[in-house]
């Protein structure tokens, strides 16, 4: 029998800390607003070309102007992509790190295409209007037009970064290698910037346009520097995080308790994660995301990690007092997304950690909150005692769905079983977190069971 509910009352383990006192809501951007602003910006960019171009006639002119439009859009898209990755807190909380990463990746593919299209169209268009062939026009562009050679190198870099970031390539690269190669985009942006003004028809004689464009780039650069470099340093100095203790929760599962000063200023909400860097000789060079497995308090942050690889195994050996660098908090997987009284938390594998924090603090009356924990084997279940205690204390439902689908012969998360498990499922908000295969299947079942897409809140760890 795979499912059972434990309603026995047990004393609360000391590791569970009381939720923080209510505080004013931090800023959260809405996805639709941000997308709308991006679209408005794109329209403004095209309008720049529109106002600047009296007429277009002849094949060469068509090509050249198509090249200009794609060039302008590419220059704009590049700065937007950078802004998405600037780790701006309002966007991280409101849109979510995983969603921002997806937007960046889709947008990145489109932008690289725009860059290539721009280069080809301009070269071809110039060749047609000057009545030369494309090869000699390319040579002329590269050698006698200011800054075009640099921009071409930048274009090649963009294409390379794009190729390396393609899924097939990424599967073969170590994460760190890909991560460091990706930084060449900064170099590419720097190399390409000047040619926009030196040869861009819409900028060459238009000072207001140049000023606005420069302000856009400068603004995003400032955001990047502030949020990705300055803020972590400020936080490190302010909070002085150190490992307080490492608890072994179960074989292969450890909780790391991290202490520091003024932690309430971080405003870390249950469901969020940090990018952790433990300053030991072996671990200082890598930064890994782990969710808080308990609500943050003024003195304590806790993460719970299962031994899945080098890094997670090394955490078990951390000595108390080890300094910790944490960037964050990130993530939109918070109570703010909820819209109904009834909430279902559906987690599996590593996804149970943010669930554990939400389970404790998500405002809900008795009977309105359900946690379903999906695991292949009983040994995979972590923090069971705490979950049981919270369920008991809050009057929440707690279901463990154990066993692999192969062994069971059926999918415990199919629509019919979910509906049986959670009465009135269609009226719930559902938080979903776990391995991608599980969450995709679960999402399909939930939709089939009548839960609208707007009330399924998923977080993916595939950043």
């Amino acid at each position: 029998m795979a499912t059972w509910t434990d309603q026995r009352v047990r004393p609360a383990p000391r590791a569970v800390v009381p939720p923080p006192s209510p505080r004013p809501q931090p800023a959260r951007s809405q996805p639709r607003t941000v997308l709308g602003l991006i679209a408005l910006g794109a329209i403004a960019v095209v309008a720049l070309w529109w106002l600047d171009t009296p007429s277009v006639s002849g094949f060469g002119d068509w090509l050249t102007n198509a090249g200009r439009i794609t060039g302008l859009l590419a220059g704009y898209a590049v700065v937007i992509l950078l802004a998405l990755m600037a780790r701006i807190p309002a966007m991280e909380r409101g849109i979510g790190t995983d969603r921002l990463a997806r937007w960046h990746s889709m947008g990145g593919r489109y932008t690289v295409s725009l860059v290539v299209a721009h280069a080809l169209l301009i070269t071809w268009g110039y060749a047609v209007t000057a009545h030369t062939n494309v090869a000699s026009q390319t040579a002329t562009l590269l050698t006698s037009y200011p800054d075009v050679l640099m921009a071409t190198v930048a274009g090649v870099l963009f294409v390379l970064v794009g190729a390396v970031s393609a899924r097939a390539a990424r599967a073969r690269l170590r994460y760190e290698t890909w991560y460091h190669l990706h930084f060449y985009t900064y170099l590419a942006v720097a190399l390409a910037f000047s040619h926009q003004f030196a040869v861009g028809a819409d900028f060459m004689t238009n000072l207001p346009a140049r000023l606005l464009w420069s302000a856009l780039y400068a603004g995003v650069a400032a955001l990047l520097v502030w949020h990705r470099f300055v803020t972590p340093v400020r936080q490190a100095l302010r909070h002085r995080l150190r490992v307080a203790a490492v608890h072994r929760e179960a074989p292969g599962v450890v909780s790391v308790h991290i202490t520091g000063r003024h932690l309430d200023e971080l405003a870390a909400e249950p469901g969020q994660f940090f990018r952790w860097r433990f300053l030991t000789r072996d671990l200082w060079w890598s930064s890994n995301p782990y969710s808080l497995s308990a609500p943050a308090s003024a003195r304590l942050l806790r993460i719970t990690v299962k031994d899945l690889g080098d890094h997670s195994a090394a955490l078990a050996r951390l000595a108390p007092g080890t300094r910790v660098f944490a960037e964050g908090p990130y993530g939109a997987f918070t109570a703010a997304r909820r819209s109904r009284p009834k909430v279902l938390l559906l987690g599996g594998g590593v996804g149970i950690t943010p669930m554990r924090a939400l389970f404790e603090t998500l405002p809900a009356g008795p009977g309105d909150l359900t946690l379903v924990y999906r695991a292949s084997r009983p040994a995979d279940v972590v923090l069971r005692r705490e979950l049981d205690a919270i369920a008991a204390r809050r009057g929440a439902q707690l279901h463990y769905l154990l066993g692999s689908r192969a062994k069971l012969g059926y999918d415990p998360l199919d629509a019919r079983r979910l509906r049986a498990l959670v009465p009135d499922l269609a009226a719930h908000d559902v938080y979903l977190c776990g391995p991608d295969a599980m969450t995709e299947a679960a999402e399909r079942s939930l939709r089939a069971a009548g839960v609208p897409r707007s009330r399924i809140h998923a977080e993916s760890f595939q950043l």
Partner: protein, 168 residues
Amino acid sequence: MRRAALALVATVVGLVLLLGFKSHSATSTASPPAAVSAPTGSGSSSSGSSRSGSTSGSSGTGSSQSGGTAGQSSTAAATKVTGSSVGTHYGPVQVQVTVANKKITAVSVLQYPTSTGRDQQINSYAIPVLKSETLSAQNANIDMVSGATYTSLGYIKSLQSALDQAGL
């Protein structure tokens, strides 16, 4: 993949629409930039109008117009009419036309952008086209013919002899 195809199609359609709108405005809003008032006679094109194919660099209606009305200097036989200098993307363009006996006999481009290599590339094509377009509307009206050196025998069949005979 489907999203990529959609993005590609949307981009191409968007580009075509944008460019299409601008081509139409070429025929409706482009008026000769130079205020030429000299009579031009049968079939001559007015100064400064561009043929399709040349870029806006050589004669486009630009975003700014500097002042100046047509200047005229005339002698008994020929009138030189100078159009106003028109600002284009690439720099100012100004065209002067010489009219004699109600025909355009010469077109000079007084001002044209030369600062970048691209300007020069385009000038080398567009300006002669402008001149020849204007002038080929009438007969070539040449005074002399130069061809690979001809002998006395060759001369007889040459164009130069036709000219000489007409003039003698």
